[in-house]
């Protein structure tokens, strides 16, 4: 089944005529993803063409969704306009909006998140690599790739990956695939302090997903989202979980690249989070090279076959 998206999901791209959005729309089309519409205000009626694909462009998300049946949006809109772009997807009643954009003002996201309360749309991101549900073709083609992750490193399978960091997600996925362990869905929830979907939200979905048999959770310094997820895992999660926290050597008070990666107090250091992981029965990866192996250890202990 996978979570959030399947290879059949119909995707629209907000900002498809920009460099960034266009480049990744092409890569998603190459991957076999159903990119069925683009949205760029003022360019409605034009087409986005690539390798035999002719994707219609609309002036609004509502038009695109109505005309093409798209239910999921990938947002590549520049930061000053990205909050508005998310709300447009919400107003159009999409199932899922995935905001790739990095650098959205925190205040904009505070307001967007409040405005989304009670809506049917789920937001993933912002400042995230996106969501990949691998396909069954060569190099996992035929899957659903939303965002900027390299599709070819994936392999269809039964491990769920959730992470705040893009390159660390790729690292984990690459380790799994190299060991012939495939993934059900890989979700980048983003590195910002205010985001739409938390570690816990994704862990709950993986826990309910019959296809997923094991989970890798990757976090970093700042905030308490990983701790909240770990405590829930201890009480409710039926599947083996491996965890990694980046930033053990980060100095307090400095923003480490990601807007949300800053140590605010004793509770949100890497050491504090790792301690909670251990208390909650999560197998901790001692280095980033150890993420797949940590899950293998957890699975062996639980008697679960990952591949």
């Amino acid at each position: 089944m996978a979570i959030l998206v399947t290879p059949q999901s119909r995707i629209l791209v907000q900002g498809i005529t920009g460099d960034f959005g266009g480049r990744h729309a092409k890569l998603s089309l190459d991957y076999g993803t159903q990119v069925v519409a683009g949205v760029t205000p003022g360019k409605g009626g034009q087409f986005f063409e690539h390798a035999g694909h002719k994707v219609p462009i609309f002036n609004s998300v509502a038009d695109a969704a109505r005309e093409t049946g798209a239910t999921v949006s990938a947002i590549f809109v520049p930061p000053p306009f990205a909050g508005d772009a998310i709300l447009e997807g919400v107003a159009a009643g999409l199932d899922l909006a995935v905001a790739i954009t990095e650098g959205i003002p925190v205040k904009d996201m505070i307001r967007v998140k409040r405005a989304m309360q009670g809506s049917r749309t789920r937001l993933v991101g912002p400042n995230c690599p996106g969501v990949v549900t691998p396909g069954t073709g060569e190099n996992s083609k035929g899957g659903c790739r939303i965002g900027i992750a390299p599709g070819y490193i994936h392999k269809k399978g039964r491990v769920g990956v959730v992470s705040r960091s893009g390159t660390l997600t790729y690292e984990a996925v690459f380790q799994l695939t190299s060991k012939n362990i495939g993934q059900s869905t890989c979700v980048g929830i983003g590195g910002d302090p205010v985001n739409g979907t938390s570690h816990l939200d994704v862990i709950r979905l993986f826990n309910e997903d019959p296809e997923t048999v094991g989970i890798i959770m990757i976090g970093e310094i700042g905030g308490s989202a990983e701790v909240e997820a770990a405590r829930w895992i201890k009480e409710h999660c039926k599947k083996p979980v491996a965890g990694f926290i980046a930033g053990a050597t980060a100095p307090a008070g400095r923003r480490m690249g990601h807007a949300g990666a800053v140590i605010g107090g004793a509770e949100d250091t890497a050491a504090a989070k790792i301690t909670v992981f251990r208390e909650c029965g999560i197998e901790v990866a001692t280095t980033p090279s150890d993420m797949a192996d940590a899950l293998i250890r957890a699975a062996q202990r639980a008697g679960v076959t990952l591949s």
Binding site: V106, K107, I148, P150, T167, G222, A259, A261, T287
Partner: protein, 393 residues
């Protein structure tokens, strides 16, 4: 982005948050003008650096205290001479300290009681939260740890804004008398407005004080802003003080590199913030010490790599370099070519370990191997980290 206390207090005043009368000075001549604008009487002299702990700090020439009470303006003038141009070391500056380029004179207030007041983002609820305490003038982390019942918080609904009942809740919990309560309510409202309108990420007033005549004043002010929102606040950007930032970090930002200096000797160059952080961690794990955080972003062009090498080599502590690139979409061979060119251009003499993985990695590794340069290749992050730690010794 951080600003100085005197700049923060000017913003406070603009939004109607009362502060003691004060004036800043950057030179001896400006000290005279600044003091002339203040009434005769007890005066505070405050070193203006971005780090906290100024009062308990020590200057590198042995003079103690970056914040001083003086009975007269003439005394304050003498103290300012000792501080200006002197380097202040506090618990937050590191041993190098910070050069005091500005002093701030304020009228010394009569203090009846000290409180704590701050506004910041509550990540758990994605709302601004106002934090207040009757325990002012001390480390709030300590209060939170030892007497959590003395910390009061209200989260503000961004759809409605700060509600009157929430202001009343704080006022009652802090135990103000009726006149103080009226003044404090106005101050809290004004401070929240400033936080919201300027895209601040944190506003901290420690201490907030009451005076014998029931005035409520912000005696100190610490403000930082959301970097993502600076594009819409040119008036805030104008307050940036480059003297307070590491020159290497400023240089890095010109090339869209995210760089933070640390005190180890193994420099890292990595693509992606999470991978960059964990590269530092893995160096430490194998017994080394990272010299920096450096994220070249997803692209890692040749120009960026050259600029990154130059910045890294500007740190005299660096004894070796660890390049860790996961080329997801980027062609690893393009990155390898960039690394080779950068090494030639800067004439690198230090040990260099490169771990390259991802798209077209075989060609990338070949380019490194055939370059004729002494570049050590690492197969995994763990392998590469152990190699650089060993080479640096």
């Amino acid at each position: 982005m951080n600003i100085h206390e005197y700049q923060a207090k000017a913003l406070f005043q603009k939004f109607g948050v009362p502060v003691p009368q004060g004036a800043a000075a950057r030179s001896a001549a400006e000290c005279d003008t600044a003091l002339a604008s203040l009434p005769e009487g007890p005066t505070m002299v405050k070193s203006q650096i971005h780090a906290g702990g100024r009062g308990k700090g020590t200057f590198t020439d042995g003079y103690k205290g970056g914040v001083k009470f003086c009975k007269t303006k003439a005394d304050a003038r003498g103290i300012a001479d000792k501080m200006l141009g002197n380097t202040l070391v506090t618990a937050q500056t590191g041993p190098a300290g910070r050069k005091v380029q500005t002093v701030y004179f304020t009228v010394a207030s009569d203090i009846k009681k000290e409180y704590y007041l701050a506004i910041l983002l509550d990540r758990a609820t994605s709302r601004p939260v106002i934090v207040a305490s009757t325990e002012g003038g001390v480390e709030i982390e300590k209060v939170a740890h030892e007497t959590p019942d003395r910390i009061h918080k209200v989260a503000v609904d961004p759809a409605y804004g700060l509600a009157d009942f929430q202001v009343r809740e704080l006022i009652f919990k802090l135990g103000f008398n009726p006149t103080e309560a009226k003044n404090a309510a106005k101050l809290i409202r004004s401070l929240y407005q400033m936080f919201w309108d300027t895209d601040a990420s944190m506003v901290e007033v420690n201490p907030l004080i009451t005076t014998p005549d029931d005035q409520v004043l912000a005696l100190d002010a610490k403000v930082s802003f959301d970097d993502n929102a600076l594009y819409r606040h040119p008036e805030i950007v104008a307050l940036r003080d480059l003297n307070e930032e590491d020159p290497k970090e400023i240089e890095a930002s010109k090339f869209s590199l995210s760089y933070i200096a640390l005190d180890g000797n193994i420099a890292c160059l990595v693509n992606g913030a999470g991978l960059a952080m964990s590269t530092m961690d893995i160096i430490k794990h194998y017994g080394g010490n990272p010299a920096n955080f450096l994220d070249v972003g997803g692209g890692a062009s040749k120009d960026q790599v050259v600029a990154a090498f130059k910045i890294i080599l500007g740190d005299p502590n660096v004894k070796g370099i660890f390049v860790n690139i996961f080329g997801g979409i980027m062609d690893c061979n393009v990155i390898a070519t960039g690394i080779v060119e950068a090494v030639r251009e800067v004439g690198l003499k230090l040990p260099l370990v490169v771990r390259l993985e991802g798209n077209n990695v075989a060609a990338g590794k070949r380019t490194l191997a055939e370059s004729g340069l002494t570049i050590v290749s690492g197969d995994t992050m763990a392998d590469a980290a152990q190699k650089i730690v060993k080479l640096v010794g």
